[in-house]
Amino acid sequence: MNATLLITIGVTLISSAVALSLRNLIHSVLLLVITWIGICAFYLIFNAEFIAFTQLLVYVGAISMVALFAVLLTRVAPSTNQRNKQSVTRFIYALITGLSLFSLMAFAVLHTDSPKEKVEALPATVYSIGKELTEEYAPALMITGSLLTLAILGSVLLAAHSPQSKENS
């Protein structure tokens, strides 16, 4: 535990916690960017340069834009602050999904065998990374890709207004 690591963890955790508690969504997204930069620093501390800069390029460069555009372009419904029956059921569903995802990840983290002794890091050349991604870890890559596609489809479905519901309101 050195000072750099402690500062990185502190900045990452505090910025994400503040981002969750803020009312202004734009400020939350900008604080999340600090969190992502913190994660990038985390990778850098452990000498994973390639994944650190990819994290920066993808999250700070692209995902932040998606989040900001999503905040700006979605119409805030007038009944945001009111609790109705639907929002309660949604809350329960969200809680169940979140808890199951968290338990799945916790299970995976706890049951992964981590090597006890120090492992010699492989030289992270572009060639070796590309080879690993297209050979040994190709299924993982494809599963992640389809998961992300599903997530995008799901969010489109959530955000989409069917013409029927428009007539009702």
């Binding site: 734009i26 340069e49 390639f50 460069g61 692209a62 834009m65 900001l68």
Partner: protein, 405 residues
């Protein structure tokens, strides 16, 4: 400035001069301080050299634009208008800093600062000379574009925090442009990484040393795919650094300076500075990736130190930027995005395939060099013609009639 302070004694004296100068500063300090002081000197040198270059560039741009438009340009301050940048600096510093009452004050300040910080950070990895690179990392090229992508966030912050609907709309427009052109910018340099199979810029530059037949340098711009990639890279770089003819984000003459509407004084100057820094850094990147970095163009000219060659290439690319600004009219936003998505992105993807062919046909031998060259050229030229025909359909050659006939 190098991380590895190895003084190669076989290098000529001028080549070693920057390192010797640094040594003269640091050898009084105790040994453990050397790394820190070396890095501090690198930072100071980069900041002062590029800060001064920024001042000279603003003057050069105004002079060049002036002469292209048949007027003298600034010529009242000092000899040949030499003191104009400093007069501008004093003016900007002493101007009142106006922040709208309803603006988000913190973000309004953070936007120009983070933009400038991101554009200065990109200077760290460019190899300026044989022994001159501030940060020699294995993933330098990726670092450059990762840090550069933070500029989009600053543009958004500037537009949103101003609390002005024109600023916000302009920020959206600027983001549409930056995101559209970031894709061809990044895809266009992937062929270089494919051929060099490394992301380290010092390695990419050293792979481009050497000469065929004793004359033609092994720069990537002289290969068919390299030439196309260089052209795509420069067009995208022009758009990424908001330069004319892609200067829609700012467009001071018709779009009230876009997301900069509510900025004045030194904050405005910071945006301006970041634009020039971005332009310089992208040109330096183009020099390193395609134009052989600090390598001399001929084996007979290697007596001139490497950093001077880098400077010559960088300045000629920057002069090209200014020439383009003086020549081309501004695009419309729909033309701009159509050009990116329908022309540049497909062409850069096709260039990836061409490069793959070029790599796979590497061991065809000297006999098949001409057919290899021809197939590569066909792979590039045919899609280029088809795409440009398709893009130009419905936009026939205009006939102008200035007076009733």
């Amino acid at each position: 400035m190098s991380m590895l302070p190895i003084l190669q004694t076989q290098d000529p004296y001028l080549e070693r001069l920057p390192l010797l100068l640094r040594e003269a500063f640091t050898h009084y300090l105790p040994e453990p301080w050397h790394t820190l002081s070396n890095q501090l000197i690198s930072i100071v040198v980069i900041l002062s050299v590029f800060g001064l270059l920024f001042a000279i560039l603003t003057l050069a741009e105004r002079k060049i634009l002036g002469h292209v438009q048949n007027r003298p340009g600034p010529n009242r301050t000092g000899f040949f208008g030499m003191l104009q940048p400093f007069a501008d600096g004093i003016k900007m510093l002493t101007k009142e800093d106006i922040v709208p009452v309803a603006a988000d004050h913190v973000l309004h300040l953070l936007a120009p600062v983070s933009l400038l910080a991101a554009s200065i950070l990109t200077f760290a990895v460019i190899p300026y000379g044989k022994n001159l690179v501030a940060l020699d990392i294995n993933t330098a090229a990726l670092y450059f574009f990762a840090v550069g992508s933070a500029t989009e966030l600053s543009v958004f912050m500037a537009g949103w925090s101003s609390n002005n609907k024109y600023s916000l709309l302009a920020a959206m427009r600027a983001l549409a442009q930056l995101i559209s052109y970031e894709l061809p910018l990044i895809i266009s340099w992937i062929p270089v990484v494919m051929v060099a199979s490394t992301l380290s810029l010092t390695r990419i530059v050293s792979l481009q040393s050497g000469y065929s037949f004793g004359v033609l340098p092994h720069w990537y711009v002289f290969t068919p795919w390299g030439f196309v990639a260089f052209a795509l890279f420069m067009v995208s770089a022009l758009a990424e650094s908001n330069r004319s003819p892609f200067d829609l984000p700012e467009a001071e003459s018709e779009l009230i300076a876009g997301h900069l509407t509510e900025y004045s004084g030194f904050k405005y100057a910071l945006f301006f500075m970041a634009e020039y820094f971005g332009m310089t850094a992208l040109s330096g990147m183009a020099v390193s990736l395609f134009l052989g970095g600090w390598n001399a163009p001929s084996p007979y000219l290697t007596f001139i130190p490497s950093y001077l060659w880098f400077a010559v290439k960088l300045l000629s690319l920057l002069a090209g930027f200014m020439w383009i600004r003086a020549t081309f009219p501004r695009l419309r936003i729909d033309q701009l995005t159509r050009f990116a998505w329908k022309f540049l992105v497909p062409l850069s993807l096709i260039n990836l395939v061409t490069t793959a062919f070029w790599i796979l046909s590497q061991n065809w031998g000297h006999l098949y060099f001409i057919p290899r060259l021809i197939i590569t050229l066909i792979l590039i030229v045919v899609p280029y013609i088809l795409l440009s025909k398709k893009l130009g359909r419905g936009y026939a050659v205009r006939t102008y009639s200035y007076a009733p006939q």
